[in-house]
């Protein structure tokens, strides 16, 4: 699990692109987009053990 910065100088660019992906959507549509995105990123990571660690790290802050 990578929790150190992995985006370098592109962090702001990626964040702005993520906000742009939500531009103009209703709140419900945005939540649906987020869900799709999480599933797509999980597929991208492709490693159940790493994903499990990430799910837990996110859940721990809830």
């Amino acid at each position: 699990m990578i929790l150190q910065d992995n985006l370098g100088t592109e962090g702001d660019t990626v964040y702005a692109a993520l906000m742009a992906a939500h531009e103009g959507l209703s709140e419900a549509e945005s939540h649906a987009l987020n869900a799709r995105l999480v599933l797509m990123l999980a597929n991208e990571v492709g490693d159940p053990a790493r994903l499990e660690t990430l799910f837990k790290a996110a859940r721990d802050l809830a």
């Binding site: 929790l3 150190q4 910065d5 985006l7 702001d12 964040y15 906000m19 959507l25 945005s30 802050l61």
Partner: protein
Amino acid sequence: MAYAYTPFPYNPPPGLTAPEPRHPVVIVGAGPIGLSMAVDLALRGVKSVVLDDNNVVSLGSRAICWAKRTLEIFDRLGIGERMLDKGVTWKVGRQFHGEREVYNFDLLPEPGHKYPAFVNLQQYYVEEYLVERAQDFPDLIDLRFLNKVTDHKGHADHVELTVETPDGPYLLETDWYIACDGAGSATRKRMNLPFEGQTFDEHFLIADVEMETSPFGDHDTPERWFWFAPPFHNGQSALLHKQPDNIYRIDLQLGPETDPKAEATEEKVLPRLKQMLGDAPFRLDWMSVYKFRCARLERFVHDRVVFVGDSAHVVSPFGARGGNGGVQDVDNLGWKLAAVVQGDAPTSLIESYDIERGHGADENMRNSARATNFMTPKSPIETLFRNEVLTLAARHPFARKLINSGRLSQPCTLAHSPLQTAGDAPLRPGNALIDAPLAGPAGDRWLLGEVQGQFTLLAVGGITAPDIPGLSRIGIDQSQGAYPCFQGKDGHAQQRYGSGFLYLLRPDGHVCAVFDQPDRAAISRAFARAFDGALDCAKGATA
């Protein structure tokens, strides 16, 4: 204590009684940008007339955060050390979420620089120092206060101006009209030029307070503190900076549904400030309520009218990219305009100002718009992401880098400019110089003080700089020869510039080209390109 605004004298200009000969340069606006422009040109022997409709320095502190690169430019112009002495030096920013600190950053972690990451100093002091500096050149700078430009007419090779004074109007002619008349530029409006970009809905209150007890509390420390959802200001954001004379800058986000006129009253402002400052006594020195805006002219050069600073581009203030961007405009334009006026370069060189500083303006606008979007989320989902970044940041380093309360002004790279020659070295073409401490025969020096202002060939380590007309030379870590040589101190110069390289440096402190051989022909080609590299672009622009 409150700043004493002393009016500058008005003297009836000669044009009231007899026509004046055509001037090489007229600068409209005596703010920090116009005055810097006049001093830069004077240092190169170019005369200018500076016109301003007012006769006092900026009312209110306005631009306060002067970045390292700007201070280095002001060092060349002759007021950098004065700013450093008077100003408040800082380099650490702290970001809070509620009462808890979530992230801090150090903008200049390494030593070995003459100037710090930032100096906070009220704009009125900077203008005062620049006016005094301009008065060092009585034969070159003609400062005319209470001279308001009411009309101008552009021609292919000159501009005619109508100027209003307390004694009536007069006419002026100039080869170059430099519009430094600020965000509300009357020059721009007369020319009907679109000024397009993005206005943000959020209102902000900006207030300067004078107080004996530091609002930084026990930490009393010159830093930049930023709060998301501060405990003292319901659900919004807040920023705190220290200035000289016990003056503190406070920015409070007020939200979109706000009446700016009603907010900019003591009745509304004092209770807000008391929530933040508690019972400590303070005096309200200045306040303003405004909306953020990012906008620019499509082109900064219109024949003989050149826009510099806020007249050309405005950005939202979080990131200190307004005043700093403007001073970098001056640094970029000064040597070019002087070369064109003195007949050493084709007029097309001015086009490269449009290309290079247009690029800088875009970078500044992009950064400030992103910071503003992060600070003022405009939908529930943006708010959700912003808040979860802050939650993650408490535990995970990656999220700390995403917190954006303003990406503070950095010089942009000119790598893609037509004036540069590509090459490889520890500091690549297009980058702004990095200062370094040097020891020389006459004592300790700073690299920037030795090389800025003219084209210079810098030789580091075992390589000799050839003698090329028009290029000054200096060496680091080599034995004394035909040009001044220095020893790098504490390894900083070596670490920043390597060894065995020649750097061709521009007068505005950017690397123009690099060489690992003393190839006279290649260096001469790169030097020539720095003057005529924009020829093709100029042709393209008129096509």
